[in-house]
Amino acid sequence: MTLSVLLTACGTKETNQPTQPAAPTAKPKDPVTLNVWSWRPQDKDLWTKAEEKLKAQGENITIEFRGIKSTDYDSVLQTSMAGGEGPDVFTTRAGSGTKKYAEANQIDPLDSLKFDGFDKGLLDQVAFNGKTYAVPFAVQTLTFFYNQDIFTKNSITEPKSWDELIKTMEALKAKGITPLAMGAKDAYALCLIVDAIGATDLGDQWATDAIAGKTNFADPKFVDVLKKVDQLKKYAQKDFVATAQKDARTAFATGQTAMILDGIWAVETYYLKTDPNMKLGSFLAPANKAGDPVRQYAYVDGGYAVNSKSKVKDAAMKAAAYTASAEFAQAYADLNSEIPGNKNVKFPDSKPMLKKAVDEKNRVPLRVNFRIRSPFDSGAPDISTSLGANLQGMLAGKITPQQAAEAVQKDLASWYPAFKK
């Protein structure tokens, strides 16, 4: 089987190719089919809108959008690119995910586009050798979400310290309410909890030191973060170890649990889809002492890149240019309740979770990432795979938080230059 997977890497056809070449100067314009791939199947409507807008601008572009499950996306894309059958425009993961395609000249630099609505820090995450290679489409943020009705009914307010959070969980549990929905079958969901707690507890300095090799993941500070994650398992729903994150989301959205730790993208895609009338609240992972700073883990999810081998490059560039516009960003924010890359957007009062997330991102962001989209994601075994698996081991009681932290450090030390002795 392994050989046959490798075999497919050498030439599998994955999609329809554009049917006609672009003819930008011809009038009326020749129809062009543009293949757009993303790991976000939920963006289908967004691209339908984009097609309408491009057509309204006089472009005869038909967009064939293909949403691929996030966990399958990279292998499908890599296989297709290797077979010369890749899409014209596609999402690349920020950081080293973009860099590896840029380094191999598989994607074109996009410096000719207007990026005036983007913060430099954002563009840096999709840059290589001083050139911008993708249009950042989303900034993701992580936070605790809670069911306002459950909180109000039980006279509970947002916790201001970690101890208060635990007391809140205890109080809910005493009343027979499951405090927290946890999807521990999905390792990535456990990593999100570490990100959120770590943002507050570790801060920028720790992350900077870890990247420089001055501290590492076996550090007591990081072990303490894992201890907190371990502490939460007491308050999770029954059989949380076998629960997928999507089922944890359903449990939360249907009022079976009071809280969940999740990304902002889940609000519209899962919670409000399940219960449009759900009243949500959110708070960042509280600090040990009330009043101490809290931080939000925010990261560039990815960007739209243009395949350098695209046969319809002109149309692909036009589509990429459109994704950099404030109009596209507004459509993105409106449809998904997520934070787009371009900051020139208005967030309506009807979407309070989004407004709050944007405010926190601007006010109290963690500026240096230590897990997702960090340098620790760029080698194998990457931090996400290692941390996710070890967290599962920890929550199952097979290893202690200290052992989990040491195992992660050991995995990273096998390839991360600053950790290598």
Partner: protein
């Protein structure tokens, strides 16, 4: 003229085998040789990305150096467990079912359909269905177990690191059980009835009839099934990927050579770091494990085949 035709005729078979040969060379031999070569390079798998010659370093990382060596040997151990479970559940239970089918007078057709039916469903759908059935919140399995008072058996099947691998293998067996039953049944039917009847007249009981008469005759088929189990166990990937993801959780408990290869070649959960060279070396090592044992099984099958 005749000599000319004869001369051409000598090579004309190439013309007939050329289409198949070309396909075989392009899609089997070339990728295989290519992966052997790739195993000596460090390469992300992105076309155009730098390929750096690293000699045997990839093999060293897989077989000796932690953390990859730890992952490799753990996955290898899991493949062996899968082989053991397939032997027991697929071949063992499959043959038992086949034998039972030979013993019943009515309803054989119905049972055959029921047993073979899952085989017609794709493995992706099978994995998805069983994920639903085994869901701890709303899954039918635990719901039914609780309803009949077997609460203690309503376990987190796919979330417990001790249960996850056997559960996934059980789903795989459920999907493929029709095949060993079919093979076993066909072999058992081929056992001459008069021989069995003569033995029965001589006083042999059912167990003796099976063990002394049927089993030696169907042995080549059993060896065949065992060989297929072995190849199936070491080639297993899809069901784990569908049910547990590429991370093969929880805590690597369902990690097999196939899933390890996938993560290594295409990148793990973050999916930003991919190592096609390392993955290729892993594929070659897996190949070297499977091939000699498969050849041995083929030899054994020939050795024990009997004419009836």
């Amino acid at each position: 003229m005749k000599r000319f035709v004869t001369g051409l005729g000598r090579y004309s078979y190439w013309l007939f085998i050329a289409p198949a040969l070309l396909l075989y060379l392009s899609f089997k031999v070339y990728p295989f040789l290519n992966s052997i070569l790739l195993g000596f390079y460090q390469w992300s798998g992105v076309p155009g990305a730098p390929k750096i010659w690293v000699g045997l370093a990839n093999y060293n990382r897989i077989l000796v150096q932690p953390p990859f060596a730890t992952m490799f040997w753990r996955a290898f151990g899991h493949n062996l467990i899968v082989f053991g479970l397939l032997l027991l559940w697929s071949t063992g239970f499959g043959l038992l079912l086949a034998w039972m089918l030979t013993q019943i007078k009515r309803g054989g057709g119905f049972y055959k359909i029921v047993i073979f039916m899952p085989h017609t469903i794709s493995i992706a759908v099978t994995g998805f269905l069983w994920n639903l059935l085994l869901n701890p919140q709303f899954g039918a399995i635990n719901f039914a177990l609780r309803k009949i008072g077997l609460d203690f058996l309503a376990l987190p099947w796919l979330g417990d690191s001790k249960l996850a691998l056997p559960t996934v293998v059980a789903v795989q067996v459920w999907h493929g059980l029709g095949f060993p039953v079919l093979v076993g049944l066909a072999a058992m039917i081929s056992v001459p009835k008069d021989v069995l009847e003569a033995a029965a007249v001589d006083g042999a009981n059912r167990l003796q009839l099976f063990w002394k008469m049927t089993f030696p005759i169907i042995l080549p088929n059993v060896i065949n099934l065992i060989a297929l189990n072995f190849m199936g166990a070491f080639g297993l990937f899809e069901i784990v990927f569908v049910m547990q993801g590429a991370e093969a959780g929880p805590f690597y408990s369902t990690d097999l050579l196939g899933t390890l290869f996938y993560r290594t070649a295409f990148g793990g959960m973050g999916a930003t770091a991919s190592g096609m060279g390392l993955g290729a070396a892993l594929a070659v090592v897996s190949f070297l494990i499977v091939i000699p044992l498969s050849l041995a099984a083929t030899r054994l099958q020939r050795k024990y085949s009997v004419e009836v």
